[in-house]
């Protein structure tokens, strides 16, 4: 499955639009990482635990979005966007959405 955030795919033609697909996830960080974060907020530096949380959330949201696209019979998702929202302290929602399409390689 091809996933891009452009509207078209170079060298391919969109032959069918299947509709919008999305995937979301809400992930909580565990307390150990919170304690580490409190320390980091004293001396500065990267909050690696939080970065990992974002990476995992993004992968999960994308995977769910691709799952939906697959169910629709698409072979690509174009114009993918991410959005996040805060639910409560210590949890954030990550959502990926895009348009499921069927693409075919363009004849030369």
């Amino acid at each position: 499955m091809m996933v891009v955030n452009t509207e078209t795919i170079a060298g391919h033609d969109v032959v069918e639009v299947k509709g919008m697909v999305q995937g979301n996830t809400v992930r909580a960080k565990h307390m150990g990482k919170d304690i580490a974060a409190s320390f980091k907020n004293l001396v500065g530096g990267e909050l690696k635990g939080y970065t990992e949380l974002l990476t995992e959330s993004r992968r999960e949201a994308l995977a769910r979005m691709m799952q939906q696209a697959q169910e629709l019979g698409a072979n690509a998702v174009v114009n993918v966007r991410f959005t996040t929202s805060a639910i409560t302290a210590g949890a954030a929602e990550m959502m990926a959405y895009g348009t499921a399409v069927v693409v075919a390689p363009r004849a030369p």
Binding site: E7, N41, V43, E46, T51, L54, R58, T84, S85, A89
Partner: protein
């Protein structure tokens, strides 16, 4: 006596934050500059479609990078002061640009890992992980969160 002790602790915390935070920031900025030179061959733009993509190359694909950078005790304290008079909080401007450059670099590294040498349609997003939007100013832990993503492709 107790108030004096509290004051001493606060001063020590801010001093540690200042020294450690400054060292962390300096190292990070040097690291960013080094990696940016290293990845200069990866072209990054915010155009809607790839320009000059190679025909028959491995298909374009989403590339992402994210970074969460914490403030330090000194920056947070200085912001408290800044908040009284208003104006630009330069400490936090720098903090955010560090997070953004780090996320962008990770996105470029992701592109290179997948064999691409260009990224188009780059977007930046942010997230409120610490729940700072709801926390009171006193309880909030300032941190800069950045997600960068775009479409990686191979140039002709």
């Amino acid at each position: 006596m107790e108030e004096l002790f509290g004051l001493v602790v606060a001063v020590v915390v801010i001093a540690v934050g200042f020294l450690a935070g400054r060292a962390t920031e300096r190292n990070h900025l040097a690291d960013l500059a080094r990696r940016e030179t290293e990845l200069a061959s990866v072209r990054v733009d915010s155009l809607k479609a790839p320009v000059g993509a190679a025909a028959g190359a491995p298909g374009p694909s989403l590339v992402c990078g994210e970074a969460v950078i914490a403030s330090d005790a000194f920056k947070s304290w200085a912001f408290g002061l800044r908040n009284i008079f208003g104006g630009e909080a330069r400490n936090f401007t720098t903090l955010f640009s560090r997070a953004r450059r780090e996320a962008t670099l990770r996105m470029m590294e992701d592109a290179r890992r997948q064999g691409f040498d260009a990224v188009c349609n780059v977007r930046h997003a942010s997230a409120d992980i610490g729940g700072n939007a709801e926390a009171s100013a006193k309880r909030s832990k300032p941190m800069a969160t950045c997600i960068a993503f775009g479409t990686g492709y191979k140039r002709a």
